[in-house]
């Protein structure tokens, strides 16, 4: 029988002086994961964008729970997004979107 896929939701803040689009952000994340762990590792990460607030530079990203550390490391290694200097900081991690929003509001 197939095992239920457990996911983790990451609240992420983008630190950059310039405006960054959601596509540019996800491109940077995919590039960082595949640079560090290769295409095989990236395929196992189960990454997807859940929400993106361009004004607040606040993003929610979903990842496979077994690849959480992989994604954290890849996010920490990002220094540029679309050739604009930037840093990405993980604020919170949670198992559900609702809990994540509760934690981030706090």
């Amino acid at each position: 029988m197939l095992k239920r896929v457990k996911r983790r939701y990451l609240a992420v803040a983008i630190d950059s002086g310039e405006a960054i689009g959601s596509g540019e952000f996800m491109d940077a994340v995919w590039i960082a994961v595949s640079k560090l762990y290769g295409e095989y590792g990236a395929s196992r990460a189960g990454l997807s964008l859940i929400s993106y607030d361009e004004e607040k530079q606040f993003v929610v990203v979903r990842a496979d729970h077994t690849s959480l550390e992989t994604v954290r490391t890849a996010l920490a290694s990002i220094t540029k997004i679309a050739n604009k200097p930037a840093a990405v900081h993980v604020l919170r991690v949670s198992g559900t979107i609702r809990a994540l929003h509760k934690k981030t509001k706090r």
Binding site: S16, E69, R72, T73, A76, S77, P85, A86, A87, V90
Partner: protein
């Protein structure tokens, strides 16, 4: 007890007061409770007072650090005699094998670091680790090159770091993961530094210790030694006077 996260290598330009303020405030916002700033050996009292003031306002514990880059073991001994009592942390960048060996066996050296871009001059092998473990010196790994290098140089660096970290763990040499960063946008949260440490196969507990417990232990030990009441490890003056 809550962990105190430490970055023992925040490379701020002491003369640039704006940069000092910005970077210390950012370190505080990212969750660091202890920060070591490398001072030049001839830093003025005014400059160090300014950094202290900024750290006090940001509620961050400042540790004075000096980075030595001696060419010979004799230079290292001379620098240690001159500077040991003036700084809380002494880090030695070992660019030759003789300097690396001398630094590892000298109890006055706190942190050993090696050139990040020259892989032939990374002398942290088993002999070095054994000397360092006897003298309580820590092995410092800067995260900066992991962020700035790309492709083959980063692969080579990760390969060296993986081998050296395994040796350090085997000989119980404390690993200290620091940022080594002088650019605000390259600063990372302590848990992000720990996550980057997983790239050279540190497990999550050792990685978190490398940004909290290990650097804090080095600072605590040195502060005890620099205290006026310290006599020798385990011996300290409790009271002075005729009736003692």
């Amino acid at each position: 007890m809550k962990r105190t996260f430490a970055d023992l290598h925040l490379c701020v330009e002491i003369g640039d007061s704006r940069q000092v303020t910005r970077m210390i405030n950012k370190a505080s916002a990212l969750g660091y409770g202890l920060v070591a700033v490398p001072f030049p050996p001839r830093a003025t009292e005014e400059q160090s007072q300014h950094v202290k003031k900024v750290c006090k306002e940001a509620r961050i514990d400042l540790v004075s650090r000096v980075d030595l880059r001696p060419r010979t073991p004799e230079d290292l001994l001379r620098d240690l005699r001159r500077l040991r009592r003036r700084f809380e942390i002494i880090a030695v960048l070992c660019e030759s094998k003789s300097v690396a060996r001398q630094a590892a066996k000298d109890r006055r050296v706190d942190l050993l670091s090696f050139p990040n871009f020259d892989f032939r001059r990374r002398f942290f092998d088993m002999a070095e680790a054994e000397l360092a473990s006897n003298c309580l010196a820590g092995f410092e790994i800067d995260v900066k090159p992991l962020l700035t290098l790309e492709r083959v140089p980063r692969i080579k660096l990760l390969s060296s770091l993986r081998r050296e970290a395994a040796i350090a763990m085997g000989f119980h040499v404390p690993i200290v993961v620091s940022s080594g960063i002088s650019d605000e946008l390259l600063m990372r949260k302590p848990m992000e530094l720990a996550a980057l440490a997983s790239l050279f196969d540190l497990n999550s507990f050792s990685a978190v210790d490398a940004v909290s417990r290990n650097p804090a232990a080095v600072v605590k030990r040195n502060r005890e030694k620099l205290d006026a009441r310290f006599v020798a490890p385990g011996i300290r003056v409790v009271r002075r006077g005729r009736d003692c």
